[in-house]
Amino acid sequence: MDFNIIIKLNKVNFYYGQSRALTDITMNFRKNKVSALIGPSGCGKSTLLRLLNRMNDLIDGTRVEGEILFEDKNIYAKDVDPVEIRRKVGMVFQKPNPFPKTIYNNIAYGPKLTSMKTDDLDALVEQSLKQAVLWDEVKDILNKSAMNLSGGQQQRLCIARALAMKPDILLMDEPTSALDPISTAKIEELIEELKKNYTIIIVTHNMQQAARISDETAFFYLGNLVEYNKTEKIFTNPDVKHTEDYITGRFG
């Protein structure tokens, strides 16, 4: 038994109505690592990501088979409250989605409403913004609307907002696809920094990004996990021909 494993998927099937989006996925995510999920559009990588914090529950007519163990507890067991899971498994979305509130209130929103034990909300806001490397840019405008920030700043704000909940895992769904190269570089640096304290699972369409920032990479195709291995191995000497074809751009 590997103690470094934080999430274990065991024969997971997922259905949107009648159609199966994920087939027999069995894989483990390791603690304090960056795992990248790659594959062509519609391969099920985002679906898988959203399974891990039960965001797919929001869609009518979906069904999960198999088990997903988070710290050895099946998060789809009947007695598990999805709200509890989402507190421990944070998420950053494809498009920056700050609330139309002040920068301060964007961060304070979650901790305030979830009765998290916070002796000092100001300190938590500052700490979260520092972790997301945004503090220096916004410390003087905390009471201004978050909607006035640039796209890259908004995305880092969203990361800070997720970090304020002190999650164990941070899920990122193509977090840089709506950003320019400079903002992207900043977020990538940030991910490098965050993995010391968090487990990060990231969906990306950008192969170089996966190669640059991840420790492990999983390649999905048509709802199947084709190959899952150390990033270095995947990008230099993949076991499966299909993976190689995708990475080298022969299809996709």
């Binding site: 965001m55 009518d60 709200v83 989402r86 979305f93 139309p100 929103y109 409403l113 997720a162």
Partner: protein, 296 residues
Amino acid sequence: MEDIMKPLKNNSMKWRYFKQSLFFGAVRLSSLIIALALGGILFYIIVNGIGAISWDFITKPPTDSMTKGGIMPAILGTIYLTIGAIAIGLPLGIASAIYLTEYAKQGRVIRLIKVGINCLAGVPSVVFGLFGLGFFVIFLKFGSSILSGSLTLGFLILPTIIGAAEEALKAVPQTFREASLSLGVSKWQTIYRIVLPNALPGILTGSILGIGRAAGETAPIMFTAAAYFTAKLPGSIFDEVMALPYHIYVLATAGTNIEATRPIQFGTVLVLVAVVLSIDLIAIIIRSYMRKNKRW
């Protein structure tokens, strides 16, 4: 099929510009007609009614079998009934809309309910009046009163408010809900803290229509709230009131001297229009205040 490739006759630039100005002209003309009709009605009411307006007219009760004096009890009655209708229709309508858009599983049952609500919007107001008479006035023994009238008007404007609230709730970006839920915030907190505040300006916009209707309807209050004449002001929500639309109806059809009271009738119409517009104005001010704070 082969016609597509053939150069069209008369398709010169000049002809196309001519067609364009023709259509623009037609569109402009229809807007103009609407504006003129509205202006004409207002102008006609003001010209005929302004003579009757005086301080006494809006602050004194009617005298001499309603042929002289003011209309203060009717103004007050209409304001009470409108506020009552909003107090009942707005919370109920918003709550229903929240259920329909945020909680209910979208399917055949919900579609059926929505069709039902739309049908309700098309029900003639006199039907609401009779329903109010049968249910609130007689069955629940509220009598002809502000309460019965407000409830009836509240139900009358319910479909308008539900429709407006549904649209406004749907217009709140799904990403806001996802962001909030992904933080481990519960669904109700998400709706209350994020969705509703962002939807309120839109809800108010749609509700303004309902508010105007509540203030102006005659049939629903005829049997449920409005008094032919009462000099005394209501002391509780179980009292009858005079109301502007019904007062106009009475003066114009059943008054003691219909011809002689024409100026008073127009004066009353003018006051009704002013009351409706000022209630709308309050809603518009509240809305723009909210919009200033919430923006995405």
